[in-house]
């Protein structure tokens, strides 16, 4: 077997380990979906009537707003799941079994890829739950099957990139508490972008930030695919940001894992 096939076999083994963990604690997956659902309901039922009118569309009101906000909530799900990944990586790194893996002749990166792929599956499941609830409260996407597939693909790509970053966050944190705080800004980025209100309604400084941070093109691309709004250069920006974040996250995580572990 070649090095690559070793890496794939070992990663599959580590993924099975992560999936077992997930099945043993399904509550974590539900929790990851819970927070965005609360925000969805809050924004649709409490603020949605007023915010929807402010969108300036033909229909307005709550029905328009649920269509506007759902892509933002989906990206919030990805960001929230990144926090979960950082926590579970930080917790896992304190376990003695990780030290055992390090003394075995396995593809080292598989410990990390197991986490990444496991977290991706978990995040995609959370997004399914969130989408289900959104559909129940009146989300009516206009996407055809191809656009749906594209939207899922884009969300998977963003999730992959942010998951690598959060794996690095989980490893750079000395404590589990630190790991839960470090990715926190990610959860706020959808608010400081086009997730909840159009960026042109923001004051100048904030608008500038919103237009240049990655979550705005992420949200615009997903919104465009699901709701048929114009995408423009958001798709290209999304790919570029994803590749950049993913690469930084991967290299950083790998470097952190190859360091000597601090004594347990």
């Amino acid at each position: 077997m070649t090095t690559l096939s070793y890496a794939l076999t070992d990663s599959a083994t580590m993924l099975r380990r992560q999936l077992r963990h997930m099945l043993r604690y399904p509550s974590l997956t539900l929790q990851l979906a819970g927070m965005p659902i609360v925000f969805l309901l809050l924004f649709v039922y409490v603020f949605g009537g007023t915010l929807g009118d402010g969108l300036g569309g033909p229909s307005g009101g709550r029905a328009a707003y649920v269509n506007y906000v759902t892509p933002g909530i989906l990206l919030m799900t990805v960001a929230g799941a990144a926090t979960g990944t950082a926590i579970s990586v930080a917790m896992d790194m304190t376990e003695g079994v990780i030290a055992r893996f390090r003394t075995m002749a396995i593809a080292r990166v598989s410990v990390l890829t197991g986490h990444v792929v496991g977290s991706m599956i978990q995040t995609m499941l959370s997004m399914c739950i969130v989408t289900g609830v959104a559909l129940l409260v009146g989300f009516r996407p206009t996407a055809d099957p191809v656009e749906w597939l594209a939207a899922i693909g884009v969300l998977a790509m963003i999730t992959f990139a942010l998951t690598w970053l959060s794996v690095a966050f989980g490893m750079v944190s000395k404590t589990v508490e630190a790991a839960s705080n470090l990715p926190m800004p990610l959860v706020f980025l959808p608010f400081l972008g086009s997730g909840f209100v159009p960026t042109d309604s923001l004051p100048a400084g904030l608008r500038w930030f919103a237009e240049y941070q990655p979550f705005t093109p992420f949200i615009e691309t997903v919104r465009g695919l699901l709701m048929g709004t114009p995408i423009g250069n958001s798709a290209a920006l999304t790919v570029a940001w994803s590749v950049g974040i993913g690469l930084v996250g991967y290299l950083w995580a790998r470097k952190l894992f190859n360091r000597d572990p601090t004594t347990p």
Binding site: D10, R16, R24, E95, G96, V97, R100, T263
Partner: protein, 319 residues
């Protein structure tokens, strides 16, 4: 055909390691022949765990040459990893998986294949008395069970060299003896064992050679018997009913260790019947009443405590 001497399983020369300003290993040399049990003995903080972590490729040394299973540690750690098994001081089991799943995880990482992995897991559960709890989460296991599972996981890959870092710390006497038997079975199968412990009895029971580590330096090395011979720990302890008996015995016996508060004397002795009889005759001649008498033969405790500069009990020596 010429016979070559057996290849050493582990050699280290001038092994050094610091954590920041704190010097943990100050140039230690090790030589462990294949198929033997080598025990590294020392108090907490002596550097035992650090030594195991370096030899088992977990952390890097600052200096020194190390070869394990014929491979250079700095250049080819992966070949070493393929030959060794490690059971650390801290439980290295996945607590969210069952015992069986933990063993199958190891089998998968050794790429044994599905059928062979299951067969091996079942065999190890049987051998380590874990069949009943094989389908329970390892988090529910007792300390002794987790330790057994830990060692079973180490054995999945049939390692030729096993590192055991304080394998019986915190275990009750029965579990400890069980663990010793498992270790002996491995030795019988030709496996080399590198064992750290702070229990002298454990080193005495299991090890072919013992090295004593203190403050990052090896202060003694040898077989258990060689080490015991290094310190004259054997003596007869006499307990008296009153200070007068103690006084006259001290007068009669001359240079002995005396404890005024405890009303005891320690007379150097090799523990033989002849020396005991001589001592009793002398006391008899002077009509000195002895309340109790105990014979103390040297054990590794004497060696250990003598070497690392502590004293088991404060002695008042008569001038």
């Amino acid at each position: 055909m010429t016979t070559t001497p057996p290849q050493p399983a582990i050699t280290a020369t001038g092994l050094r390691k610091s954590f920041g300003d704190h010097l943990v290993l100050d140039g230690i040399d090790l030589h462990v022949p294949e198929g033997t049990v080598f025990s590294l003995l020392g108090p907490n903080g002596a550097g035992k765990t650090t030594t195991v972590q370096i030899l088992s490729t977990l952390i890097r040394a600052d200096g020194g040459e190390v070869r394990v299973a014929g491979h250079d540690l700095a250049r080819d750690p992966d070949s070493i990893r393929a030959a060794i098994g490690v059971t650390g001081q801290f439980s290295a089991v996945d607590k969210l998986l069952t015992g069986e799943e933990n063993l199958i995880l190891m089998a998968d990482l050794h790429r044994l294949g599905r059928a062979e992995g299951r067969r091996r897991a079942a065999e190890l559960l049987e051998r380590f008395d874990l069949v009943e709890s094989g389908r329970k989460m390892a988090a529910t296991y007792s300390g002794g069970m987790q330790r057994r599972l830990d060692l079973a996981m180490t054995l999945v890959g049939d390692p030729r060299i096993i590192f055991l870092d304080e394998p019986t710390a915190g275990l009750d006497p029965r579990s400890r003896r069980g663990m010793w038997q498992i270790i002996r079975d491995q030795v019988a199968a030709g496996v080399t064992i590198f064992l750290t412990t702070q229990y002298l009895e454990e080193a005495d029971q299991l090890a072919d050679r013992i090295a004593v580590l203190d403050h990052g330096r090896l202060v003694a090395e040898g077989t258990p018997d060689e080490l015991k011979r290094r310190v004259p720990g054997g003596h007869i302890r006499l307990q008296f009913a009153d200070a007068r008996g103690l006084e006259s015995a001290t007068h009669t016996l001359g240079e002995v260790s005396r404890d005024n508060d405890g009303l005891t004397l320690q007379v150097p002795s090799d523990g033989s019947l002849r020396s005991l009889k001589t001592l009793l005759d002398r006391l008899e001649d002077e009509s000195i009443e002895v309340e109790t008498l105990t014979v103390h033969t040297p054990d590794l405790d004497d060696v250990f405590l003598g070497l690392i500069g502590h004293h088991k009990n404060e002695r008042v020596t008569t001038p």
